[in-house]
């Protein structure tokens, strides 16, 4: 059993282990598990040493907090000043971050020790980490299978005990799905709850930063540290308008029709039903809910995300940073740079996004998707008048074989069927381990709450962990 942040904090406080020992243990563990390919490289020795020193001083001065001295891995799309970051893309092979992400600033203030960069699907586009330019991340529970994605490295490194917490980004399920496939806890916050400043943009109206941990309590502690208004991100929720705690009605909604559709693995379904049964036996009321159009949220998502991707990826032109391939004129060098530097899935999504935004198709795709998005927001609002949380399996199937879906993008997109509605609507959700299937592969339960009701998720999540 991997140790939680809370347990390690006690060990550090009681001097059972020093910060340096803890960090060295993490580094050794990551090196031992290099075949999993969860990380893309360590941060510089100088930087790691500075952080260790700061953490030791904070302990000595009695100023240590929950994350002081805790080794941490960050997804490769989060910036740390003076260190490498590349979103697992060839186009950013030599990129050095010019500034800290706000999340990183907060972690540094806490005295946390950032040690390595996590592997991911290139720019966050994928559900298996197979789209990384640096090779797939293997699932620690079965190395012939994927770790999920796009934050596959972040989930795997926590799952094999490399670090007690890692950070990822979740645009359509990229924290929750790999967490489910690797058997760890993944929290996706309300859109705007955590600053995106310093996160490489993919789908700007959908992107969120969140964490992978070994327990729900750790997820709560980490969320409370990284969330908050930020003047560098105008979409963050203002501190004074943040919702206060909501009373629990002990009521769960299950969109039965949506879950019972084709394509959901029978063991996933059984495990989900067992989880719901546990809540019922503990005195929770479970009602069947109907969320109109939730089954087409996947389509809404892919139209919107591709549109936003096509805009956000325009900056990778080989002029100001990143790979630059010279050719006979500047226009040809754009083509060369983007074609050599960007992988298949990124190129496919840029082309799809260009299509749905182009004149003649804009109304039928992008505009329509935004209309349905508004309808979905209203549907969720109605549901949350009745229940505290919506429960769904996190993924329709357990970890799949490496290569199984690699050549069928649509089949890969369907891996996100239960996670994308959350991003489309902007609400928070958590994935919690809910057992294993007959082959020993982890399964996850996803709980979804109303905007800014992360605390409801943590309360329910802790209850579920105890059932």
């Amino acid at each position: 059993m991997n140790k939680t942040i809370k347990q390690l904090h006690i060990e550090l406080t009681e001097k059972k282990i020093t910060v340096r020992e803890l960090v060295n243990n993490s580094i050794s563990k990551i090196k031992e598990n290099s075949d999993i390919n969860a990380t893309l490289g360590f941060y510089s020795d100088n930087f790691i040493n500075e952080q260790i020193k700061k953490a030791e001083e904070m302990f000595a001065d009695g100023k240590a907090g929950a994350l002081t001295g805790i080794p941490i891995v960050l997804k490769d799309n989060i910036l740390v000043k003076g260190e490498r970051a590349g979103a697992a893309s060839k186009i950013l092979e030599n990129y050095i971050s010019p500034y800290d992400a706000t999340v990183v600033t907060k972690l540094k203030e806490q005295g946390a020790v950032l040690i390595a960069r996590a592997n991911m699907d290139e720019f966050g586009m994928g559900a298996s980490t197979e789209n990384s330019a640096y090779g797939v991340t293997k699932n620690p529970h079965d190395k012939t299978r994927v770790a999920g994605g796009s934050s596959g490295g972040s989930a795997a490194v926590v799952a094999y005990g490399g670090v007690p917490v890692s950070f990822g980004s979740d645009t359509g399920g990229s924290i929750r799905q790999p967490s489910s496939l690797c058997g760890v806890v993944g929290i996706k916050a309300t859109y705007g709850a955590v600053s995106r400043h310093g996160l490489m943009a993919m789908g700007s109206s959908l992107d969120t930063i969140g964490a992978v941990t070994n327990s729900v309590a750790d997820a709560r502690d980490v969320f409370n540290i990284i969330s908050g208004e930020d003047k560098m991100d105008a979409t963050t929720i203002r501190d004074e308008s943040r919702k206060s705690k909501v009373e629990s009605r002990k009521k769960i909604g299950v969109p039965r029709k949506f879950i019972d559709m084709e394509g959901v693995d029978s063991e996933v379904l059984k495990n989900f039903n067992d989880s719901i049964e546990k809540f019922k036996n503990d005195g929770y009321e479970v009602i069947d809910i109907d969320v109109k159009n939730i089954e087409i949220a996947l389509s809404v998502y892919y139209v919107i995300v591709c549109a936003e991707i096509s805009s956000n990826m325009a900056r990778y032109d080989g002029i100001r940073f990143g790979l630059s391939v010279a050719d006979k004129d500047i226009n040809q060098s754009y083509f060369k740079t983007r074609t050599e530097g960007l992988g298949d899935e990124v190129r496919r999504r840029v082309l799809l996004g260009t299509y749905v935004l182009s004149s003649g198709y804009y109304d039928a795709y992008y505009n329509k998707a935004n209309i349905v998005r508004e309808q979905l927001k209203k549907e969720f609002k109605k549901v949350f008048e009745l229940v505290d949380v919506i429960a769904l399996p996190t993924s329709p199937f357990p970890a799949f074989k490496i290569g199984e879906k690699a050549n069928d993008p649509l089949a890969m997109y369907l891996a996100d069927i239960f996670t994308v509605p959350v991003n489309v609507v902007g609400v928070p959700a958590i994935s919690i381990p809910s057992g294993k299937n007959s082959e020993g592969l982890p399964l996850g339960l996803q709980l979804i709450a109303d905007h800014e009701c992360e605390e409801t998720l943590f309360t329910y999540g802790e209850v579920f962990e105890g059932l």
Partner: protein, 94 residues
């Protein structure tokens, strides 16, 4: 799904992304499958009134907030080609 090789070539030009001849067949099939799938959004009604968002534009005074030159080196160090503190690009107009 009515999506042709000409459409693909046009998108490729707009997005400044080349697709190799041998990749075109697969890319075309994938794009058709995905666009065909997401077209289901058009089977829904279009009546909705946009809810008031909690997010809104935040403006600030147009003043320099950073110390001059604070990030210049870090930014220029990432540029493929520079000269005298400028990013250097190939000639655009001939």
């Amino acid at each position: 799904m009515n999506f042709t090789l000409d459409d693909l070539d046009n998108l490729s030009k707009l997005a400044r992304i080349s697709i190799k001849e041998e990749e075109k067949g697969k890319m075309l099939e994938d794009m058709k499958a995905i666009l065909g799938y997401v077209s289901e959004i058009n089977n829904t009604s279009s009546d909705t009134i946009k809810e008031k968002e909690k997010h809104y534009n935040i403006v600030r005074d147009d003043v320099v907030t950073n110390e001059q030159g604070l990030n210049t080196k870090a930014i220029l160090d990432n540029a493929p080609d520079t000269e005298d503190g400028y990013v250097k690009v190939a000639q655009v107009l001939k």
